[in-house]
Symmetry: C2
Subunit: 431 residues, 2 copies
């Protein structure tokens, strides 16, 4: 792969998400060679993808060039590639641009959408795990409204204005809320010749509450906010199939909808080459011990979403969110340095800093350890935390500017179909 | 097309560029129905496309949603479509979403890249007339540097770092300057393991000076600036062909380059349905009289780049730039209203407000009628004029913020490969 061989041990990190980035930062300027591999040349701030999808933010403001982050770091190498396989037996990895030896390997490949094997759903629904996917959703939403204008068939028009979001986790809730804000403030102005009241936003959750990982109070309040915003919240309803036209469920309700967003599950972004006893097949996650080491391979670590550190307290591992990823990344870096200096490695203990979700303008829910609150203040806390978690001054400033503008003007101005999704090759909306 | 029939006359405008937008603005809130058609749902601020291509600006900051611009305008309709044909004999147009009758038609389709019939060049070079095209260039530049890192073949590596820009007009000059700034400030930091001195930026102009439409002083100074920035300026050199590997010219110099940007010509974006005597085949422009009316069709106007108003003073029509487009758009709107109120139509007289081009940091050339100046002050004037020409407060603010940041930090932060161009389907750089 054209990485110079030095006398320093080589640490290879696969993935520049929250986990991989935290690990790389922790290994800066040490007597190590660090190689970071990612299939994008930027870090994606995933918590704000839904705002890109709903025209509130430009994609460039939630992406940060990975090379820039490590511009001044010695012995640091970035390569844009997809890793195809790891060979822990001989300490090498295979990638689309050649193979590479490592001394220590950190797998931080993150997660991907889980369609639970349903190929219909995979084919016809939209996912929102990356910037291109968010831009596809943005295009599709707007294309559907443009198309809705053209038809005099009421059933067809309603299907174009019917949005189904499957999954009542933070992604689904935040997206549903943002769509509801669009319905309120923007779409009636943009499409005065459409009856926007006909637009339906359906949030479908298979269990009996939304925001399952949060407190009962947060869940209730979030549902309350959504309902007030006009979102149809469906609980205890399981989506069985979607053929591109109709969402079928295990209940009596079916949904004729042109836009279905699948936020009902994630799984690890698995990587080939590990023994079956090292992985949890169903969840596509890698079993790790309390040092994030992969079973039988003390120099291979898995961190973040793809890692599953099972214990009595956490039988299914830690939540697949930014915080455990960042904390594991930091600790793994520390532990690798400890190993280097023959010091004792530290066991991972997750510090739960709480969780939060925003539903819309002035509406958010925040669960801290000893304090749970909802509403306007929670919304400001949400914004503050997200703003300061963004990498880079420029991104912070641009997101801040957008938020202030959107708040004051009740607007979302990046409602642009830059790359059409539905009408890639022609502008004919009729299929 | 599902546009209501009213008692008001219907004005159809094809194209939401500078010309079409100016016309639409001039017809607001009159006893008219205005229908604006465009194949994008946004207006593109073309003069800044090169900054999107070189990672200095996000695409969303130079695009403005057309629907938003006309949110509060009565009797205004926008449709996202491509117009396929006009039938001036029976006052209808045919589009991808159906046909439409008009009382007055304004053709403002703008211009497209002119490859002068060379299909090789068309196939292998990059054009930069739209936002998606600029994003393709952005991706390609960065992908080529990523690829250059991987090869130990010096010839291959040099070809990946060899940039050829064909055409020494404002587009070519500004793009060459921006690339040179990247070479100076950013690429050596991003790719410390590449010898960026090997990067070549070649600007090829077929005639004996660059910025041909500007003053001799501006042309000389711009060339001077480019040379100081390290751009190879080739004059009196004509590109004959490009097979994806080698640019062949009519001189002794040929260029092995992976990136060739074709900025050597534009032609009108012609539309089917006009008689041959109404059009200039070679330039794909529509002949218009001094009222911008198309020959033989007093209710069909062509304005902006696609229109050619030939006179003794302007045998080849007006320059294909924003100013004539805006001025013609405004006057056509006025003239249509004059017709409506049985008043006299006015003849178009072009007010040349001057022209300008920026070459790089603190370097621009400005030609006003009675004052021509170059350098730092010209650069500030350039920025001021462009900032204030952008539509919308948000876009102005975001562009301003980027410029201040880029200026202070010597940076361009949106160097993101969001949609890979060269490696669309796989991240394998090896072809």
């Amino acid at each position: 792969m054209n990485i110079p061989q030095t006398s320093f041990p080589r640490v290879v990190i696969i993935g520049g998400g929250f986990a991989g980035l935290a690990a790389a930062r922790g290994l800066e300027e040490q007597e190590l060679q660090v190689v970071l591999l990612d299939k994008h040349n930027y870090h994606t701030f995933q918590p704000l993808l839904y705002q890109v999808a709903t025209g509130g933010l430009e994609p460039d403001s939630i992406a940060f060039p990975l090379r820039k982050r490590f511009n001044d770091v010695e012995n640091f190498y970035f390569r844009l590639t997809e890793v195809q396989k790891i060979n822990p037996e001989n300490n090498t990895i295979e990638t689309s641009i050649g193979s590479l030896e490592y001394d220590e390997l950190i797998i931080a490949t993150g997660s991907t959408t889980n369609f639970f094997g349903n190929t219909n759903i995979q084919k016809h629904t939209m996912e929102m795990k990356s910037i291109p996917q968010s831009l596809n959703i943005r295009s599709l939403i707007l294309e559907n409204f443009e198309e809705a204008l053209l038809t005099s068939n009421i059933e067809e028009r309603n299907a174009l204005m019917n949005f189904v979001i499957v999954g009542g986790g933070p992604t689904g809730v935040e997206l549903a809320g943002a769509l509801a804000e669009m319905k309120k403030g923007i779409l009636p102005k943009d499409y005065p010749d459409l009856d926007i009241r006909q637009m339906q936003i359906n949030l479908i959750q298979s269990s009996d509450c939304i925001l399952k990982g949060m407190s009962a109070k947060a869940s209730e309040k979030a549902e309350d906010f959504l309902i007030k915003l006009g979102v149809n919240v469906w609980k205890n309803l399981r989506v069985l199939d979607y053929d591109g036209k109709t969402v079928t469920t295990n209940g009596e309700d079916h949904f004729k909808a042109e836009t279905v967003i699948w936020a009902a599950g994630v799984k690890g972004q698995m990587i080939d080459g590990l023994n079956t006893e090292c992985v949890i097949e169903r969840a596509a996650r890698i079993k790790v011990n309390e040092y994030n080491q992969v079973l039988g391979h003390p120099n291979v670590y898995a961190i973040g979403d793809v890692a599953c550190m099972s214990s009595e307290k956490t039988p299914f591992g830690h939540p697949m969110m930014a915080q455990p990823a960042i904390q594991q990344g930091r600790l793994v870096a520390k532990n690798i340095l400890a190993k280097l200096f023959n010091k004792k490695q530290e066991v991972f203990v997750y510090k739960d800093k709480g969780s939060m979700a925003t539903i819309g303008r002035n509406k958010a829910v925040v669960d801290l350890k000893n304090w749970k609150f909802q509403g306007v203040f929670a919304w400001f806390v949400w914004m503050f935390v997200h703003l300061f978690s963004l990498i880079g001054f420029r991104n912070k400033a641009i997101v801040f500017l957008n938020w202030v503008y959107n708040y004051i003007r009740f607007d979302r101005e990046t409602r642009l179909i830059i790359r059409p999704y539905k009408n890639k090759n022609s502008f004919s909306f009729r299929k």
